[in-house]
């Protein structure tokens, strides 16, 4: 396995972990609290971004094209910002 492919698989696993974690967290929210609206939206957004990234990696690998650095870095950065926002709200 090439180093680049190995990196892609690791990112893939990490994304999956993040996705599952955010779904679990979504189910623990209190729907009556107004503050949890924000947390709900942030964690659902994390889930959607994770899904988009997993789908992107799957799709591009299937087409025998290189996984672009820019989309992966931008996606990871967005996830980090959202995670930080989710934890600090």
């Amino acid at each position: 396995m090439k180093p680049r492919e190995w990196l892609v698989y690791r990112i893939f696993a990490l994304l999956l972990f993040f996705g599952v974690l955010s779904v679990i967290f979504l189910w623990t929210l209190n729907p009556v609290s107004s503050q949890s609206q924000t947390t709900f939206a942030i964690y659902l957004s994390i889930d959607l971004v994770v899904f988009a990234m997993i789908s992107y990696i799957f799709r591009v690998s299937k087409w025998d094209e290189d996984v672009g650095r820019l989309p992966v870095i931008a996606g990871c950065l967005a996830l980090l910002i959202l995670l930080y926002a989710g934890l600090t709200v």
Partner: protein, 506 residues
């Protein structure tokens, strides 16, 4: 061959041609779920799909709100407030519903304008274009009918303005729309009509039109690249199956769009305005939502007040009609943007005027616009866009041949690459310079109008001087670039030494 046989074969020929016309446009004999080419994996090809995603999100959020909303004048506001304050995530739900509605209108507009510029309406996609335009009107109908439902003072007053405008439309359009949306049942009847249209009639019509459009998309496939020619089957022209390849791409776009909508809704939560009452309505300035603001701003120009209203609305209606029947007006075969400078410029002027009118309308609520100001702003915008567009065309059309004799012994590939790069840079700088020119020209007009209307102040004088300076820089920059381009081609008749600084004759 006898005369009767000849007639029969001619009739059959006509029937076949007619069937062939319909088959070419409706794809009666084509397979379904046709694969999509690789070059279509680009968000600009799927703006319409994103509008559908927005429609789905609205359908879901709207269905939840339907559980609580009661469409009568006495309960509409109270039930909306109840959703806001007492339903779990109610405020969030209302905000998402509103913002996805805005996004749907914006995406539909972008989808239409992209289609306009790359001429997707041309044969054989005429019916597809007309269907899309009708879908766009239905989308605006969603906005118009949904705006009244919370029964706030803002929504009630704006809808009153809208329904009053319907009366000024040309007949029989006026009577038909009046029958559809106003009726004769007073406030209660109108609210119920708007509610029915918003949750039953318009979604049903949109779904039917969507089915027609999807079928036509299946028939014709996505449009070919505007540059013409068939893309290489090993590269951009490679066909990808709808499932899972293209479907996954669309899901990615939908997921990112959904995430953006959620975050925007959280960052800018909606605040419900005050409830409608005649006293409150008397104190508020009626203003339609932003997507109708450009039309409203046109009718606020003093020449269109009162008797001129009908003329203004007929003019707006004609724009919509012209856009709808565009495939039957623009019958030329070429789709290349590079050779359609008039067509592209008209599109750019339309976008610029809509943006200017919308922003202007937001800044001048309830104000009647003097004719001269209207003429200056709208005329100035059109003039600025025309100058930018035609000069950009002039530059882009000349650019590739200018750099050819520059290097002494370049390889053809490196020369092409270098020329392309230089061309892109010079074009970008040129567009930037012209953009500065348009901005400063707009600012200049604004300053002059302000000084005419409100008198001369120090601040206005500084602004005027700044805009004049910026305009001078833009004009000099554009002249310099055009002069150097003509210099490269040996087309200069009257030399200007100042513009030849650093120029070396090859």
């Amino acid at each position: 061959m006898s005369v009767s046989e000849d007639d029969t074969s001619r009739k059959e020929g006509r029937a076949e041609r007619l069937m062939g016309w319909f088959d070419n446009r409706l794809g009666l004999s084509h397979e379904l779920l046709r694969p999509a080419p690789r070059y279509s994996i680009n968000p600009f090809y799927w703006l319409g799909a994103l509008a559908v995603v927005a429609f789905v999100i609205q359908g879901i959020s709207g269905s939840i709100m339907l559980l609580y909303y009661v469409p009568t004048p006495s309960t509409a506001y109270a039930s909306t407030l109840y959703i806001f304050q007492s339903v779990s995530y109610g405020q969030f739900l209302e905000t998402v519903h509103l913002y996805t509605a805005y996004a749907m209108i914006m995406l539909a507009f972008m989808h239409m304008m992209r289609g306009f510029f790359v001429s997707v309406h041309k044969k054989p996609r005429e019916i597809m274009w007309v269907t899309g335009m009708v879908m766009g009107f239905v989308t605006l109908g969603f906005g118009f009918t949904g705006y009244l439902l919370p029964w706030t003072v803002v929504s009630y007053s704006a809808t009153r303005v809208g329904t009053a405008m319907i009366g000024a439309l040309p007949e029989p359009l006026s009577s038909f729309i009046n029958f559809l949306v106003v009726g004769s049942g007073g406030d209660a009847g109108q609210l119920l009509r708007f509610f029915d249209l918003h949750v039953v009639v318009l979604p049903a019509v949109l779904l039917v039109l969507l089915a027609v459009k999807m079928y036509l998309l299946e028939t014709h496939g996505v449009s070919e690249p505007v540059t013409g020619g068939t893309p290489d089957p090993k590269k951009g022209g490679r066909l990808l199956p709808i499932f899972p390849d293209v479907s996954f791409y669309l899901l990615e776009l939908a997921a990112l769009f959904g995430a953006a909508m959620l975050l925007i809704s959280v960052l800018f939560p909606l605040n419900l305005p005050a409830a409608y009452s005649p006293a409150a309505a008397g104190q508020s300035v009626p203003q339609p939502d932003w997507y109708f603001l450009w039309v409203y701003q046109i009718i606020k120009i003093s020449i269109f007040e009162q008797a001129g209203l009908s003329a203004a609305l007929t003019f707006v209606a004609l724009i919509f009609v012209a856009l709808t029947v565009l495939p039957f007006i623009d019958r030329g075969k070429t789709r290349r943007i590079a050779v359609r400078r008039w067509y592209v410029t008209i599109g750019l002027v339309f976008i610029a005027e809509v943006v200017v009118l919308t922003v202007w309308g937001q800044k001048t609520p309830g104000q009647v616009i003097p004719d001269t100001q209207g003429l200056l702003v709208l005329g100035g915008t059109a003039l600025a866009v025309c100058i930018i567009s035609f000069n950009a065309y002039r530059l882009l059309a000349r650019q590739p041949t200018n750099q050819a004799p520059a290097a002494l012994h370049p390889s053809p590939q490196s020369e092409a690459s270098r020329t392309h790069s230089a061309s892109a840079w010079v074009s970008a700088i040129f567009v930037g310079v012209l953009g500065l020119g348009a901005f400063s020209m707009g600012g200049l007009i604004n300053s002059v109008v302000n000084m005419t209307m409100f008198g001369v102040s120090d601040l206005e004088l500084v602004a005027l001087a700044s805009f004049l300076g910026a305009l001078a820089v833009a004009v000099s920059g554009a002249s310099f670039l055009l002069y150097r381009l003509d210099l490269g081609r040996g087309r200069i008749k009257r030399r200007v030494k100042m513009f030849e600084v650093g120029w070396k004759q090859k």
